[in-house]
């Protein structure tokens, strides 16, 4: 009880990042994620860390690249338009095998869009977070508690595989308050990074952080080696939550804020006698395709719900490869679907099947 806090998702994420050993934050304000920067500005001086409001998003991500190259845990955060600006730097992080955490508290787009919650950056986060052949780890929290839990995991996993990681949240999760219990701190000492540019002290050959390789055969090999690590990530780091899936013949797949709304809809559908269940991907890359394929065997119908015109639905279709009917329901532009809207969709699908 004593260590349960009522906090905004943005603030809980920031506090948890600090507790996970992130003592260097570089940011630039944008609604609806500004509380992360504000919290870091308040807390970092107290712990002897770095808070720096950069002159732009591009500057901030390159400061992350610099700090993380020296082996420290560094983070930046922004919202959709700001993340687009950071994409070049994220590609450099990936191409240099430098781990770091980037937070996207999504808002409506494209362009400047709006400031209300959205999930329209799914494609960007999972398919094309910058130029070149690469992936970033993508974690999708669904509540304030997970905003706190996943940021530590993102740092650990990023370090383990030397890849950038993204927390893909949205304005609703960033702005809402819920009780949060901060995860136990594992250890003050983080794993040693033998590759980091920490100074040779004349005792070893210099480490070099670089993403420029002009010999195509060399670059091909480096990318292929990186993809071997991606394969290991896809095997070991997939996370998803299941709700009432054991006997479900109608599966809802949703992530983030929409997943908690879908959960209410699934519960209401059960009360109507519809065997609905929910799969909530927690990692969007790696995507829980095996789990969805497995559960699709007993579910003729799958409803994918998103705050977008339909992006994750592509990955669900690829996972089931035509074995189930994949339906889609989305709201976009900052509109959030209500539990009743999703329930109506579930009901409509259930009715058609019975006809």
């Amino acid at each position: 009880m004593a260590n349960k806090f009522l906090m905004k998702g943005n603030e809980a994420l920031a506090e948890a990042a600090i507790r996970s050993g992130c003592h260097h934050f570089f940011g630039y304000p944008i609604t609806p994620q500004t509380e992360i920067s504000a919290y870091m500005a308040k807390r970092m001086p107290q712990i002897g860390g770095t808070f720096l409001q950069a002159e732009s998003e591009i500057a901030a991500i390159n400061m992350v690249l610099g700090a993380a190259s020296a082996g420290v845990r560094a983070m930046t955060s922004s919202s959709s338009p700001g993340i687009s600006l950071k994409s070049e730097g994220i590609s450099y992080l990936a191409g240099s095998d430098v781990p770091a955490v980037i937070v996207n508290v999504m808002r409506g787009g494209p362009g400047l869009g709006g400031i209300q919650p959205s999930q329209a950056d799914y494609w960007q986060a999972t398919k094309a977070m910058g130029h070149g052949d690469f992936q970033v780890l993508v974690y999708a929290p669904s509540g304030v508690q997970e905003m706190a839990e996943l940021v530590g995991l993102a740092f650990d996993t990023a370090d383990k595989y030397r890849v950038p990681a993204m927390i893909l949240a949205d304005g609703l999760l960033g702005q809402m308050m819920e009780p949060v219990v901060f995860p136990e701190q594992k250890s003050d000492r983080l794993p040693e990074k033998t590759w980091a540019t920490t100074g040779t002290k004349g005792k070893r050959a210099p480490n070099i952080i670089n993403s420029l390789f002009l010999q195509p055969d060399e670059l091909e090999q480096i990318v292929k080696d990186r993809f071997t690590r991606y394969q290991a990530i896809e095997e070991n780091e997939v996370l998803a939550e299941e709700f009432l899936t054991d006997d479900a013949d109608l599966l809802v797949v949703a992530y983030g804020a929409v997943a908690r709304i879908a959960r209410s809809a699934v519960r209401a559908a059960r009360e109507r006698g519809i065997k609905a269940g929910l799969i909530r991907p927690v990692t969007l890359w790696p995507f829980p395709k095996k789990l969805i394929a497995e559960k699709a065997k007993q579910a003729q119908n799958i409803l994918v719900a998103e705050m977008s015109m339909g992006q994750m639905v592509d990955d669900v279709k690829l996972a089931v490869l035509g074995s189930s009917h994949v339906h889609f329901y989305g709201r976009t532009g900052g509109m959030v679907p209500s539990p009743n809207e999703l329930l109506e969709q579930i009901q409509a699908i259930a009715d058609n099947r019975e006809v």
């Binding site: 009522l6 702005q175 809402m176 308050m177 819920e178 009780p179 908690r260 209500s338 539990p339």
Partner: protein, 181 residues
């Protein structure tokens, strides 16, 4: 039992703070709670509202579309949300600022001249807490002591001089008796 509350008014009337106190009562009672503000330009002078959910089960949608309890602090908010209040629900509103016809028969109307009452007791900035006190009297969503504890938790250390007027305003609303005219 799920209780959905909507607190609505102008930015600056203490809409979000009132919601935070209510959310804290749920936290103190070990329940699941969520608090969601309207954000952006609304916070800076337009109509602001705040959704609070208190439940025994994990909360699905934190956006309150149909409040069981509506606390309305201005006319636009009253007009916007009065039709959404659930059957058997309750609306507590500041009758100093809102002249309302009580057109629905399936909900309870609880008007209180919160702004005037607060001013008369030299608690000018605390009409929101007067409303909160009256809401507690009308709906008993928690105990009086729990709300006092929640207020203590919400008043920041740097503003402790505001604690007593908050508690006074709470009592003022809690003990208010509607005089039939």
């Amino acid at each position: 039992m799920l209780t959905n509350l909507m607190i609505a008014g102008f930015g600056g009337q203490g809409v979000l703070f009132t919601g935070k106190i209510i959310a804290n009562t749920g936290l103190l009672e070990g329940k699941e709670v969520s608090w969601l503000p309207s954000y952006g330009p609304e916070m800076r002078g337009g109509t602001a509202n705040c959704s609070v959910c208190v439940d025994d089960e994990p909360i699905g949608c934190p956006i309150v579309l149909e409040p069981d309890i509506l606390i309305a602090m201005n006319v636009p908010s009253f007009d916007k949300f009065i039709g959404k209040v659930t059957k058997g629900g309750c609306v507590v509103y500041d009758s100093s600022l809102i002249e309302a016809e009580q057109t629905r028969e399936d909900i309870r109307y609880r008007p209180i001249p919160a702004t005037e009452l607060a001013a008369r007791h030299h608690l000018d900035k605390f009409a929101n807490i007067v409303l909160l006190g009256y809401t507690l009297q009308a709906v008993h969503f928690t105990s009086y002591e729990t709300v006092c504890e929640a207020i203590k938790a919400c008043v920041p250390k740097s503003k402790q001089k505001l604690l007593t007027p908050n508690l006074d305003a709470l009592r003022l609303g809690y003990e208010f008796q509607e005089t039939k005219s």
